[in-house]
Amino acid sequence: MSPRRPHPGDEIDGFTLGRALHQGGMASIFEATHPDHAIPLLMKLPHLEGGDPAHIVSFEMEQMILPRLSGPHVPRFVAAAGFERQPYLAMERILGPSLLLRLRELPLAVEEVASIGARVAVALSELHRQRVSHLDVKPANILFRDSPSGGKGAAEAVLVDFGLSHHGRLPDLIEEEFRIPYGTAPYMAPEQAMGQRNEPRSDLFALGVLLYQFATGALPFGDPQHLSAVRKRLWRDAIPPRRLRPDLPPWLQEVILRCLEVDPARRHPTAAQLAFDLNHPEAVRLTARAERRRRDGWLKVLERRVNQDRAPRQGRPAATAHAAPVIVVAVDLREQTAPLAEALRASVGNLLRTLPGARVACVNVLLDRYLAGDPLQDNRGRSTHVQRLVELRHWAAPLGLEEGRITFHVLGGSGAAAPLLEYAEANGVDHIVMGARANSMLRTMLGSVSGEVAARAPCSVTVVRAREALP
């Protein structure tokens, strides 16, 4: 092990160090180049001197987790070396800016807060699907790609620094080594402050803090310097953000305060469902949270403080994407026969009975030719779009789902499959349920929509067909 700290120009395993990006107390981060790798690179080198083992363990943890992650929402792992020699971690360098740069501009416009929040939630959802909880979500650890990897839409969020993360299927070195919770005080979830490290919804709390901060310019729980002060958030609720920013829409306060719930079970069940809310403000079910104008009274706070039952308990988190999926049911209002509509509802109903955390997005594709050919307004003055929404609600009524578990969406497009696929991609959909087109002549002419969706969807697809009587 070299006692000398690395410098620009140093060569390590074929990597040439460039400009220093960060020289912290725990590690140095350099730009790097390597003849075999064309992408921009960075190299993280932990400092070996110094007594604090925490940063060594964080480095080990990141070295363990990063190679096992994939997708556009994490930097791509390139290479690593252990502690036999100079340890390092080489990875893709994300060229876009970190959210840290935006702190000067707070508060941001509502649309931008929602857009940032939705993209971070999508990134968290992808991370949680890979069984990793980040546990240090904060502006400095969120970057945005210069251009979206798909080529359209807004730039994707990238999560960096997995030094405090927890992988559900790997030994947790942080938990082994330290009995005090590690994280960043303003953003840390209450259960994390109590030492729990296996709860993905801790990341939703941290994102809630970030949304609060970006919407109001203030931190909901301040910046406490001691753990005892961090734990105060177990009983002391935040000032409702609309009090600090009266023009904040009720739906966004609803979403933020739901993220900040002390009990993880009262937050959104998954990051995908949070992303869904942030992408569909009109579909957010408003509760008392949305209208709250002041913090809870001292009596309620005292009650929480003395009532230990309300403290989060250690245990296996129940909600996973498997238990709380986003299900899309594609309803074809024009060609669907009554038996097929019935079969489709029955299929969705069966899924919902076994998955109490699931939410359903009921979608219909309004083909552009209807928009172009027919006048947008029909004789009675109602837009085709609204008419479709009404019909979707009518279709779903027999399911008997309460408000908040089901939402209705009319998508536009020139074909039926593409809008559905885009919707599934953008909203972290876990399962698409759709009917098979019954008319074989139409199917021959137009091709099978369900076939195309099933072949290209990023998730499970159930194609429902009504059982026909034998001739």
């Binding site: 083992p53 080990e60 070295q63 252990g82 790997l170 030994p171 947790d172 070195l173 938990e175 080594e177």
Partner: protein, 245 residues
Amino acid sequence: MIAILSDIHANREALSACLAHADGAGATRLVFLGDIIGYGADPAWCLRTVMDRIAHGAVAILGNHDQALFARSARMNGRAAAAMEWTRAQLSPDAGDFLRTLPLEHAEEDRLFVHADASDPAAWRYVTGPLEARRSFEGTPARVTICGHVHVPRLFGLTAAEKCTGFTPTPGMPVPLSRPRRWLAVVGAVGQPRDGNPAAGYALLDPDTSEMRWMRVPYDVEAAAGKIRRAGLPESLATRLFAGA
């Protein structure tokens, strides 16, 4: 890739399934961690198979049941003792001669292979929790110790701060046994799993990356249990295979 097979316990069906799986997974070396015999109904076949693999470069170490064949052990429970009496009657004297030659432990590079607690291999102590793991860590300089005997897959890590904690591996998930940390890996049992999963267990270790995978292989439990019953061995030795208990 090294395949590590422990606690075969004369279960031919489980051993065949694991060997086929390990061959398919690209294992180029085999280490048998002891207890080839005892409990199950195919001691002769299992011994012959292990001996054949040793002739092709495999390593085998001694387990307490193997030892009981040639040195009567006072510490065996009723079922195990009854099964050992039956086993002894099935095997020729050569079997004892072979088992006598097996070492109590085998070290290579920074790894130690041993059947039970490494601090005193001949005492056959179980490594069931962090306390026992710590005793084992303290008894060997090896960075990575790999043992069996418990029939339940576990991984213990000893940190720089001398803390010892346990982890239950997920089947098939590679776990890096990274430096400078010390690790004690308990591989599950091939022939008599006791963690509630009846599938045969063995482990794969990649010495280049120091990554270990705990594998589970379904096998014909029906057939193995049927042979135990027909041999007149204690019924519970057959039923426990179905439950992995």
